[in-house]
Symmetry: C2
Subunit: 297 residues, 2 copies
């Protein structure tokens, strides 16, 4: 399949481009630098930087700070996974078929590596701002990144998710929607928005990309639930049925498998429709959206 | 004592000024908002914002973003304490005589509240930048804050500190200096630097304030070690002798109590000497530095 090869090619390209943004200087804090590098290069899909760049390309971007933000959002995504996997949280030993950060480096170092990556994402943004003095688009992109990663974004979703699990309370549909909108959706929205912002898109277009991101993010999250029921360890790189085992209410619990599959398709269709309103070249972004609803891992 | 009253007055003033910078909007993520507020208002000395403002005043600052940065650095300091107290780290149940965040809200929520505060500090900075478009001093202050909080700053020191404890390896003098320079020193340097930067001080002055901060930070940290030996639970609000109990090598272990006391005085004297090079009014900053070497809690 053509798109799979293109995704693979782009993911490899993104990895090569974000690698130089990780801290290079060594010292006594070597272990945390290793843990950061291990975590970032533990085989992620690079979906967020990939979406960011594809959005940027659709708006004919030429801003030199795009690489910085691609690296920054991947650092933030990675830190969230490290902390999410901790014993006090989901307590996962494996992710994508590899040992999680705390399984390799211990709990304390995993907490600190997560903190360090979150902080370093903003160091990266600060460096980009410093290099491009007076570029207002970078300030706007920084603002979106910070908000979408925070308590009214990703962390907010994570908090409600964790709390629902820890208290053992039955999650209601409103809470589930809240979690899905923020936990996965917020950074996907941020990716598409920042690509557009750095390329110089107007506010209306940025808002439309946010909407497309929200729909895609929700579809992506529902697809995750579906795969937890229908997938295999080999393809997912993590145990399947873990949601059911943890008695975790998911979209599939509320809507059933078939309806969930239909909703993924509907949401993705709506998201693609938004993309297709734009005149800029976006074959890849279109295909990527489409691919994400048909993925089996 | 006059200076104590002034410190108390300023701390209360700072608390009132930073309170509005904490997230106000409520939602499903209520618990983490409570945990953030609990942690920030658990009775800190407000030393970092206090130093920042006093430095700013010495350079006759009038920049409207000073409050934002005072709030941001206190959020970063607070997050570092929350994570530092976690069971996987120092495993402290009390701080300043109050239950630590994880003791009240549980481990998972404490991790997330820390993440949220770190992220929110940068959301606060982003908002300040957005409000003051084109103010280059804010970009510079952002850059200093991010670097001093990160792996080449506070987190770097914390990493080496934690690692030395966890591995049980005997810490050598180089490592101890590294930890002290970064773990406490970095944010104190940042406070003094950012106050100067926002006030429009030149690069040379900012560098001198960094130097003063490094000396003060080291003195402050050594004083902490001294108090761990000589203080009381009542005054410190935490168990004394905890370093010895944890077989933690401190400055006092290497140098002995008397030499440590002398070094605190020498370093503080050098720091004050730097301050006194400046012509700006800095009675309070001078007295604050002096006070910090004589504190008993």
């Amino acid at each position: 399949m053509e798109i799979r090869q293109e995704i693979k090619r782009r993911a490899a390209d993104i990895e090569a481009r974000i690698a130089p943004f990780l801290p290079q200087e060594k010292g006594f804090q070597q272990t945390v630098l290793d843990a950061m590098e291990y975590s970032v290069f533990a085989g992620g899909k690079r979906l967020r930087p990939m979406l960011m760049e594809a959005s940027y390309q659709m708006f004919d971007g030429t801003n030199p700070a795009i690489d910085d933000f691609m690296a920054a959002i991947e650092m933030i995504h990675t830190y969230s996974l490290i902390h999410d996997d901790l014993p006090a949280m989901d307590n996962d030993e494996y992710r994508r078929g590899k040992k999680t950060t705390h399984a390799v480096y211990g709990e304390a170092m995993a907490i600190l590596a997560g903190d360090a990556l979150l902080n370093y994402a903003f160091e990266t943004v600060a460096a980009a701002l410093t290099r491009n003095e007076g570029d207002w688009r970078i300030v706007r992109a920084f603002s979106v990144l910070a908000q979408k990663a925070g308590i009214y974004g990703m962390i907010g979703g994570q908090v409600v998710d964790v709390e629902s699990e820890k208290t053992g309370q039955t999650i209601d549909r409103n809470r589930l929607d809240f979690i899905y909108r923020l936990k996965t959706g917020a950074l996907i929205e941020a990716s598409l928005m920042i690509g557009a912002i750095l390329a110089g898109a107007d506010e209306v277009s940025v808002a439309r990309m946010q909407e497309a991101g929200a729909k895609l993010g929700l579809a992506f999250q529902i697809q995750d639930d579906i795969l937890d029921v229908t997938g295999s360890f080999e393809k997912l790189g993590k145990p399947i049925g873990s949601d059911a085992e943890n008695e975790k209410a998911t979209y599939v619990t509320f809507e059933g498998l078939e309806q969930a599959k239909k909703d993924v398709e509907r949401l993705s269709g709506e998201a693609i429709k938004i993309l297709d309103e734009f005149e800029g070249e976006h074959t890849f972004l279109h295909d990527l959206f489409f691919y994400l609803i048909n993925r089996d891992h």
